[in-house]
């Protein structure tokens, strides 16, 4: 097998139904995960990859039940370790298309270290991080993305931890593809999933997801129709950063090295901040922005080319084999200093 052969085979014409497994889905009624599952199943036929070549790997948590519901190969592993499992799988099988499904606790708390390293290595796989800012499966403790002062069962008078921002974290780790989408925006989710899946290297997608039982409407700023119109900033490569209602468009501009929101009509076109996915530094600034003071960016923050981990490993292997032939244990055993006793 050669590096990154995924998609080399011709895929049959699939429908969403081909990717639905026979297992009963066991998330709470109203959970945002249903919409994500549906979007993923719907996106799969568009990837043009035979379903036997697709693998979903997960850790532990509500989101991590995901593989059971996909009619592909799947491995529901242990808490936080999915990126490491997926790395090993990818090194063994660079012909497979691998998705890692994780959550804010699984991916950024217990598995934070693995997340760091899979991103910096740029292993060719797609990571879907469902961020609901709460531990759901363990019944409602605050998570590493919960806001400071979050009142939960484990923090009755408020949490003392400052939250981590998944996008800033990913960019800080050297991620080569970073995007954000929302469980209640199906068309946008479809688009982001496709983009991430086609990225060469690690495609990291934060999906803002609703836990209607333990942290309902945590992302209301982007759910509520009125608020969404005010705050949603769609990132599109080559387009200026404009948002807000048609009668009150606002622009995100740079003042020195600081992002600033101004009325669009007050800005000259040349002063607009035009989104460039290949500008990682700009992406880092965007990643930190959030309501109420700033818009909430959704879309692809950053997409850049970088060497892929397993490609380099396999190139080394193939080079060694092509230069010196495949390994031969009989020759190795008798190589170097030996002596005969008769």
């Amino acid at each position: 097998m050669s590096p990154s052969e995924a998609g080399a085979k011709e895929a049959p014409k699939y429908t969403k139904k081909d990717f639905e497994s026979d297992q009963d889905v066991r998330w709470c009624p109203g959970c945002g995960d249903y919409a994500i599952l549906s979007a993923v199943q719907k996106t799969m036929p568009d990837l043009g990859i035979p379903k036997e070549d697709i693998v979903f790997i997960s850790g532990i948590g509500c989101s991590s039940r995901f593989p059971y519901y996909m009619n592909t190969y799947g491995f529901h592993t242990i808490h936080g370790r999915a990126p490491a499992i997926a790395t090993g799988l990818r090194v063994a099988r660079p012909d497979l298309k691998i998705f890692v499904v994780t959550g804010d606790g699984d991916g950024l708390s217990i598995g934070g270290n693995h997340m760091l390293h899979v991103l910096r290595r740029n292993v060719n796989l797609t990571i879907l991080l469902f961020n609901n800012r709460i531990y759901g499966l363990t019944k409602g403790q605050y998570s590493p993305t919960s806001e400071l002062g979050k009142v939960t069962k484990s923090t009755p008078v408020g949490s003392a931890d400052r939250p981590v921002n998944p996008l800033s974290f990913a960019l800080g780790c050297g991620a080569t593809f970073v995007a954000r989408t929302v469980d209640r925006n199906i068309p946008h989710m479809d688009e982001m999933l496709k983009r991430a899946a086609k990225h060469k290297g690690t495609g990291f997608v934060e999906i803002l997801q609703n836990c209607n039982v333990y942290n309902d409407l945590a992302w209301n700023v982007i759910y509520d129709r009125e608020s969404k119109v005010q705050h949603e900033l769609r990132l599109e490569h080559g387009k200026p950063l404009l948002f807000g209602p048609p009668d009150d468009r606002r622009a995100l501009i740079m003042e020195g090295v600081t992002p600033k929101v101004v009325r669009a009509k007050d800005v000259q076109e040349s002063a607009l901040w035009v989104h460039d996915e290949t500008n990682v530094n700009a992406a880092k600034l965007l990643a930190d922005l959030f309501a109420p003071d700033f818009p909430v960016p959704i879309g692809v923050l950053s997409a850049v080319d970088a060497p892929v981990y397993e490609d380099l490993i396999l190139e080394q292997e193939q080079k060694a084999i092509s230069e010196r032939g495949p390994g031969d244990i009989a020759k190795l055993l008798t190589s170097g200093d030996t002596w005969k006793i008769s």
């Binding site: 799947g74 242990i78 390293h117 390994g327 031969d328 009989a330 055993l333």
Partner: protein, 622 residues
């Protein structure tokens, strides 16, 4: 190749034949004692002797010079008969500084040869070693030992005074003086060392020249100096004919994995995080990419084992290695491999603990961890090599069994086996048992947990196989279908099935070989790196006419099917271990046998002498 070096010409000195000798080179960490010992080992292997080595060094990379804890040593025993251990008491000690003398003198036999580098015995080094007066001036030292005070530093500088090297560079060659001198004393051939120097320093002619001259100077000093009136010869040992090489345990484990990769025609993914004393396996495997062994230096121990598991899920052979602290971190991952029923090989190079313990010192106290160190009941197969060379076969066997039974296999090596070397009869690779891995592709009647009736293994399916898409995971699953199941009876059935699958692997174990009579007064049972010490002690007792036998277990879970029967053929059972009594506990529980332990946990191999004493004590108290 010459079996015994021709005696030096020139001054003829008497040469006394010895059966065996135990030598220790000791000096500061920066004195090159490991290299000296390794070269002396190669010379002895050339001379046709059987041998065993014991490198012993501090964990600190550059420990402060001259200190007691910075002392590094290399011991070997070589002989004209079978050599099982690096030896207990020293026939010869080379002490390159006062600290080395202070730490190691207690192990030198009375009347033993003591060679010291006098120039290192200055005020500063004496202070660091805690000597108030120069011990070389104490007449009792020369009375008790055959003391040879040699100004090795001075003679070294003299030999290379015209070379364009600085003082530090010149100083650093003095270990070759010691090597040359001891090589003369024990009639070792210099050829392998001269060849090594030429190769190693091919790019630095001055250093090569310096080391060569100093080595020869040391040799010539022994030959001509008035102080050495005699020297020794150790005849070649009676060893099985064939081609030999020196082999350390860690290299043997790596090569066993390579052999398994080639024979199985399945790539290996090796996940590892740097840890003493296991890292050398990673270094070795990383050099052999042609075998389709892909090494991942993981971000931590957990990633190392889980990457290996991910690879196994993909149809590769997942292998990971560590030492005790790292194995503790891998526990949850190993449990996943147990329930996912995927092959996995875990190499544990045991070291002294608990916690960080003494990273460079040996121990065999992780047996219980291997057997039981995971949540719930997560049985795995446990194997243990007996000698450095045996590590090759054990690693190969671990891969074979892991794939056949779809189960994790833990290999318990240790720091002594890992770094120790022995002359190893190179096997004919074609005689290794086949590793026949069949991936399921047949759709008809497929279920992820449908079991092979003989092994209870579930089918191994590579993702990418059309029509066999399925999901597995750490949640309890229904047997056969693999669907998530919380059914009480199913869970009980799965717990039993996973255990039974491991038990079935007993059919892979050959009949236990007994060293000694099939029935008698005492059976000594050992496992792992104590093989040499136990065998030597038992053979000594046998030579004294005692009714003693030994068996050495390479399979610790499951245990050999014939072991229960064997244990009952002896009146007493002794179990020497470098722990507080772990195998002895297993044997007592498993077979209701009144086995007693002999336990010393010093971070060092068990001395043959002490095991011999324990045998006598147990026999005496009958």
């Amino acid at each position: 190749m010459g079996r015994i070096a021709t005696p030096a010409t020139g001054v003829e000195k008497s040469r006394i034949a010895l059966d065996r000798a135990v030598i220790r080179f000791a000096g500061d960490s920066g004195d090159g004692m490991q290299l000296t010992g390794e070269q002396f080992t190669t010379e002895s292997a050339w001379a046709g002797n059987d041998l065993a080595t014991l490198p012993n060094f501090p964990a600190e990379i550059r420990a402060p010079a001259g200190t007691l804890f910075g002392v590094s040593s290399f011991q070997l025993q070589f002989g004209s008969q079978r050599v099982y251990t690096p030896g207990d008491r020293l026939d010869c000690l080379v002490a390159m500084n006062p600290a080395a003398l202070k730490v190691h003198l207690r192990d030198l036999k009375t009347g033993g040869l003591l060679i010291v580098n006098t120039q290192a015995f200055d005020k500063r080094n004496l202070d660091k070693a805690g000597y108030t007066a120069n011990p070389l001036d104490d007449p009792t030292l020369a009375e008790r030992y055959r003391l040879h005070k040699v100004d090795m530093t001075g003679l070294t500088h003299e030999a290379i005074k015209d070379l364009a090297l600085n003082t530090k560079e010149k100083d650093r060659t003095k270990n070759f003086f010691a090597l040359g001198l001891v090589s003369w004393i024990y009639t070792r051939p210099l050829e392998p060392t001269l060849a090594w120097i030429e190769k190693r320093f091919a790019k630095n002619k001055d250093i090569a020249e310096a080391n060569t001259r100093v080595l020869k100077a040391g040799h010539a000093f022994g030959e001509t100096a008035e102080i050495f009136s005699e020297h020794y010869a150790v005849e070649p040992a009676e060893m099985a004919p064939g081609l030999y090489r020196a082999m350390t345990g860690n290299r043997a484990l790596a090569w066993g994995i390579l052999a398994a990769a080639q024979r199985s025609r399945v790539p290996v993914v090796y996940g590892a995080y740097p840890i003493t004393p296991a890292s050398d396996i990673l270094h070795e495997l990383a050099m052999h990419k042609r075998f389709r062994v892909r090494t991942i230096q993981a971000e931590d121990e957990i990633a190392a084992v889980t990457a290996a598991i991910g690879a196994s899920f993909g149809g590769a052979i997942g292998v990971t290695a560590s030492s005790g602290p790292g194995i503790a971190l891998k526990g949850e991952g190993i449990g996943l491999a147990v329930t996912a029923e995927l092959p996995l090989v875990v190499l544990n190079i045991q070291r002294a603990g608990p916690s960080t313990g003494m990273p460079t010192k040996t121990e065999q106290a992780d047996l219980m961890q291997a057997l039981y160190g995971r949540n719930s009941e997560a049985p795995v197969i446990v194997l243990a090599p007996a000698t450095p060379g045996d590590c090759f076969y054990i690693a190969y066997e671990a891969v074979r069994i892991a794939a056949k039974y779809m189960v994790p296999v833990i290999v318990l090596s240790d720091g002594f086996l890992a770094n120790g070397s022995e002359p190893w009869l190179i096997p004919d690779a074609s005689t290794l048992p086949p590793i026949d891995i069949q991936f399921r592709t047949e759709r008809e009647g497929f279920f992820p947990y449908l079991r092979d009736p003989a092994t209870l293994a579930r089918p191994w399916v590579k993702p990418g196989t059309p029509g066999l898409e399925h999901r597995i995971g750490g949640i309890e699953k229904q047997d056969v279908t693999g669907n998530i199941s919380y059914d009480p009876e199913n869970h009980d059935h799965m717990i039993r099935t996973r255990a039974e699958k491991v038990r079935r692997a007993a059919q892979e174990i050959p009949p236990t070989s007994i060293n000694g009579p099939a029935t008698g007064d005492l059976l000594v049972v050992g496992w792992g790196g104590t093989y040499g010490a136990i065998t030597a002690a038992v053979e000594r007792a046998q030579a004294e006419g005692k009714s003693v036998a030994s068996v050495h277990l390479r399979h610790l879970n499951p245990l050999p099917p014939d072991l229960g029967h064997i244990l009952r053929e002896y009146r007493k059972v002794l179990v020497p271990e470098i722990n507080s009594g772990q195998l002895v506990r297993v044997l007592r529980a498993e077979y209701l046998v009144d086995a007693v332990g002999f336990n010393r946990v010093r971070g060092l191999p068990l001395p043959t002498e002490e095991i011999h004493e324990a045998i006598n004590q147990l026999l005496g108290s009958k």
